[in-house]
Amino acid sequence: MNIFKTLVVSSILLAVLPVTSALGQSRGIALEPKSVVQTTPFVNGVYRALIIGNDRYQDPHQRWPALETAVADARAVSDILQQHYGFSDLEVLENATRREILRALERLSKRALPNDSILVYYAGHGFLDSESERGFWVPVDAEGVDSTTFLRNSTIRDELTTIASRAQHTLLISDSCFSGTLLRRGTRGIATPNPDQDYLKKVSKKKSVRIISAGGVEYVDDNYRKSGHSPFTYFLLNELENNDRELLTVSELSSNVTRAVANNVDQVPETGVLQGAGDELGEFIFIKLKISVDGVPAEKLKIQVETDSPADNVVIESEVIDSKVTDSKATDSSSEPADPGIVIPLPTL
């Protein structure tokens, strides 16, 4: 894979970001990186992601115990997408309520543009209603087995369908128990081994709406060998981090992760297409960035990648556009406590 022969960092954007909230460290919101439009033969849009990790469940019925790794999983996924794969528009929700998740999905769908590649990642409890065979995500404000406080799979699929109607590629990665129920109406995906450039260009132009679930209709583990990550996310991170290819399709990623997980734990991830969301057998393609400048966060780099391939004459350009990274604690839940720095009384003498 020698498409790219030179990779030139053309400039570093040290745009003056608004000063972050002084007290935001404990209550979120601090980063406002810029979105970068990636222009390649494969992608001509922004890589956006909504990352959700739920650890601290508040269930008054004690049905949902706290998890050990979901928030750490979310943070690690966010970091690797941002630092190695050029995701410039990330919203991270930690310990999100049902309302926060829905609102974040709505915000994401509003930001989505026609050429974008959009990833949604969820780590947290899942629930399966064995009678109706309906699956759910369990937000931190879930109450017992009251499924009205959960996030139903059909709702998630609806939101994904809305996002997919706007974006070029949509990928949902769900690391929760019973997340395979998201795929009951879908079909299995098959990875194409060692895809060539023609194949990649072809599938990148076609719309894709894919789902990778940590397991089928089964329980999945939380802390894999005390790694601080679930087995699924552990191998997902491992695959993304150790991937030495510049272009990685979702089919390859899911195939490799599935093999690794299935070989090591009693759990088999599944991959499929979200039925009815407009999938055209396209491929979400991860582009691994190989640039770094000491002391400069990847999201602040403006990159230009050149190649002398006569067939492609690729120029990857970057253009700063408006975007914002938020955190669930900084957004709009009126039930969430405020940053204490803004509510302590005025300190008069």
Binding site: G24, S334, P337, G341, I344, P345
Partner: protein, 249 residues
């Protein structure tokens, strides 16, 4: 407090103008910065007690207290705020002495109105700790004679907070003011003085926008008059307040 508000030539009006200017300046470069506006009310049940200096008696109010209203605008690490508070203190057999330009007048069985205006400019140099400047004006008026006494100066303080959990936050502040004492007749300098304040309390977060707070506030004043007299007093008491925050993010 009415005196402070009604005197169009007074320092407080200038301070209000400065506050308005600070609001504009704070808003202008903010861009996508984190901004919030907090308004609050506080009831302060305090006693006024002190020492009228050598040869004079101690005094302590029988009852008294103050009500306060505040507004606090914050942009990222910077905040500016205005606090107005006032109330009446009843004295029985002994009351603060009136140090007039014509001599010293002891008083008893009198009501004294006491009001404060604070204009603050603060900055969070650390995540939970800020330093602030307080342009402070206090005004006292004896109802029996109409004697007025004003103290104004610039203070420096430190404020901090410590979240206990999602609902409770401890907070505190401490600082000094150095200023001048005027009487309201000719606005001429009538002495100088210092004051200090120590506050500790807790905030309960009802939700993201609404909080209540309570605690203990200790204030002390030490005045040296030009004619050689001095006076020390303190206003100590418990407070209970409510704040509402408009978060513009």
């Amino acid at each position: 407090m009415n005196k402070i508000l009604n005197n169009t030539n007074s320092t407080p009006i200038k301070l209000c103008a400065a506050f308005a200017l600070m609001l504009v300046l704070a808003y202008a470069p903010a861009g996508q910065a984190a901004r919030s506006l907090t308004v609050g009310v506080t009831a302060n049940g305090s006693s006024w007690e002190g020492d009228n200096g050598s040869g004079n008696s101690d005094f302590e109010s029988d009852r008294g207290g103050q009500f306060a209203a505040s507004i606090n605008y914050r942009v990222n690490k910077f905040y500016t705020g205005l606090n107005l508070q006032g109330g009446t203190y009843d004295f029985g057999s002994d009351a603060p002495t009136q140090f007039t330009s014509n001599g010293t007048l002891t008083s008893d069985d009198v009501k004294v109105e006491h009001s404060d205006l604070d204009l603050l400019f603060g900055y969070y140099f650390w995540s939970n700790v800020s330093l602030f400047l307080d342009l402070k004006v206090t005004h006292s008026e004896w109802r029996d004679t109409g004697y007025e006494q004003a103290f104004s100066g610039l203070g420096l303080g430190v404020s901090g907070f410590h979240p206990i959990n999602d609902k409770w936050v401890l907070f505190g502040s401490f600082g000094f003011v150095n200023g001048n004492i005027d009487d309201d007749e000719d606005r001429s300098s009538h002495g100088d003085g210092t004051s200090s304040a120590l506050v500790g309390g807790a905030v309960y977060l009802i939700d993201k926008a609404n909080t209540i707070n309570f605690g203990l506030k200790l204030r002390s004043y030490d005045f040296d008059f030009d004619d050689g007299n001095d006076q020390e007093y303190s206003l100590n008491g418990l407070f209970f307040g409510y704040n509402h925050t408009f978060d513009f993010n």
